[in-house]
Amino acid sequence: MAQSALARSERINGWLFVMPALVLLGIFMVYPILWSLWMSFQVGRGMNFSFGGTANIMRLTQDPVFLRALSNTMLFLAMQVPIMLVLALFFANALNDSKLWGRGFFRTAIFLPCVTSLVAYSVIFKSIFAIDGIANQTLLVLHLIENPINWLSDPFWARVVVITAITWRWTGYNMIFYLAAMQNIDRSIYEAARIDGVPAWARFWFITVPLLKPVILFTSVISTIGTLQLFDEVNLLTQGGPSDATLTLSLYIYNLSFRFMPSFGYAATVSYVIVILVGILSLIQFIVAKDRRA
């Protein structure tokens, strides 16, 4: 088909506008991710590679540190994401009540943590949870504990601190999404439900939650991706310790590449574990969300 000059200039312009982004993404995203795939089949230290076939995958299955990092990451995911999203949903619902006194204050207060820099808040948490720190002091005064807890040196409590820290930082962020979505729900739906005698909890569960499903899906995917890549907080709070109790996959990749004698090929293999996990989990979340809609 002969193309007119107008059609041609449209087509050229269309590409010109997206080209800078595509070129940059090609160089700094597509190329690295493919390179990383190739590298995940290479063995060797430093800059000396040789093809290792499935050697790296074999190594994964027998690497206790990797398995530890994997199970830690999954634990953080399974604990932290649901807690955070439920809290966010609860706060959003409470703050959506226009008769609530001081809702502006509460909203701003709960949102405030996500304005902080990751590094700053990690450091602050580190000082709060120091052995003689304010957390222990307070709990001792309240007689909730007998002896100070060694927060960051005890495997269990270190994980608790990490989960607490992430939840602190991101709950308000998710809450804002829910709040915005709730404000788009037609008020009269709730009024109709009240006239029909539907109790408050049922209004929340059978009206609010289903209508919020797309947003809940969005936040859960975003949070899943974020938690699977968890790095900043653990590196600053615990550096993965004590004895790898808070080591995450991202931190392990970093350690493999930049802290120990670099083992780029193996690190690339570990990084593909995250890619695959993100893919699988996103897919599951989409399927679950679709199922319920039908």
């Binding site: 007119s4 000059a5 107008l6 059609a7």
Partner: protein
């Protein structure tokens, strides 16, 4: 010189053809209205003339020059959009002068042209306002003003009144008609509203599914529609269509039996080719053309459903015995309509016949 010539103009998106070969001549200073139901391609055709949509096939000439590949701003056209498309971040003055700024027209000249256009449309007091500070009608006038400033040879209007309320629409309609008189330029105007088409146009182009159904002066289309589609589209309320079949044919006339009217037979003169006996043909009568019972060629009995009294006239929505809906317009003895039955006569001269394909039988 700003006549337009369209020759076998086509437009397709992938495999979907939306304009299927349009041939049209528009004379200089003519007011042409493209009318048709939504999706008929009238806006696409206008955008092709404007240069906003590439032309897939055929030729477009404006003022004797082929314009298929010419940039929109160099076609000598100006366009008024349905949503007005005023630049929200500029004042009325800046909006109106924007095109000239990019045509490198000197500042004093721009100011002069903007002021002149503003005077024509009484926009002077609004020049320093922003679009969001204007009412719908004012925005519409600014959009027209922006087109005038460029002193185009051809004005293109894309459903310009559809975002206005009924009263304002009538007002702007008159203003546009006045403007055409004043500016003496070619205008191509797209609308789906046949009333706008009838009142504004010198020539109406009726489009359906990407082809031209009929081109003509407004009254010609009303009095002498070429096919059932045009007959139904032009005129309000719509022309009534009744199913009939041919029972006798010959000697310059046909005799029909109204299918849903208990075999009432009517005979109509025809000058053209005659349909065969047994053919299904459609009889069309406009609501305003029914006559009092007994005075036409045949009477039909109707059950009145609803009567709408508009004051000067009344529309009676009625059903035939078998449920065909018929609209009758009445100006006399309307109080008698309170009763449920009504008998009207099919007029001898103003009944139209269409064959099974919808083409007019003359």
């Amino acid at each position: 010189m700003s006549s337009l010539k369209l020759r076998a103009v086509r437009k397709s998106y992938g495999n979907v053809e939306v304009i299927k070969g349009v041939n049209l001549d528009i004379k200089d200073k003519e007011f042409v209205v493209f009318v048709g139901p939504s999706g008929c391609g009238k806006s696409t055709l206008l955008r092709m003339i404007a240069g906003l949509e590439p032309i897939t096939g055929g030729d477009l000439e404006i003022g004797g020059q082929r314009m298929n590949d010419v940039d929109p701003s160099k076609r000598g056209i100006a366009m008024v959009f349905q949503s007005y498309a005023l630049y929200p971040h500029m004042t009325v003055r800046e909006n109106m002068g924007f095109a000239l700024r990019f045509a490198r027209v000197p500042k004093e000249q721009i100011a002069k042209q903007v002021n002149a256009a503003a005077r024509i449309l009484a926009l002077d007091p609004l020049l320093d306002r922003y679009p969001k500070e204007l009412s719908g009608g004012q925005r519409q006038r600014v959009a027209i003003g922006r087109a005038i400033v460029r002193q185009p040879e051809v004005f293109l209007f894309d459903e310009p009144l559809s975002n206005l309320d009924a009263e304002l629409r009538v007002h702007m309609r008159i203003e546009i008609a006045r403007l055409h008189k004043e500016l003496q330029t070619t205008i191509i105007y797209v609308t789906h509203d046949q009333v706008e088409a009838m009142t504004l146009a010198q020539t109406i182009v009726v489009l359906r599914d990407g082809i031209i159904e009929q081109v003509g002066r407004p009254l010609d289309l009303y009095d002498d529609p070429a096919n059932q589609f045009v007959a139904g589209f032009i005129g309000s309320p719509k022309m009534n269509f009744m199913a009939t079949s041919v029972v006798a044919s010959g000697k310059g006339s046909v005799t029909l039996e109204l299918t849903h009217q208990g075999k009432t037979a009517i005979t109509l003169p025809l000058t053209g080719p005659l349909p065969a006996i047994g053919d299904k043909v459609t009889l069309g009568v406009r609501p305003e053309h029914f006559e009092l019972a007994g005075s036409g060629i045949a009477d039909i009995a109707l059950d009145i459903d609803v009567a709408e009294h508009l004051g000067a006239t009344s529309y009676i929505y009625a059903n035939t015995a078998s449920g065909e809906q018929i609209i009758v317009e009445r100006e006399e003895s309307r109080h008698e309509l309170e009763q449920s039955g009504l008998s009207v006569a099919i007029p001898a001269t103003k009944a139209y016949l269409f064959d099974a394909a919808g083409q007019r039988l003359r």
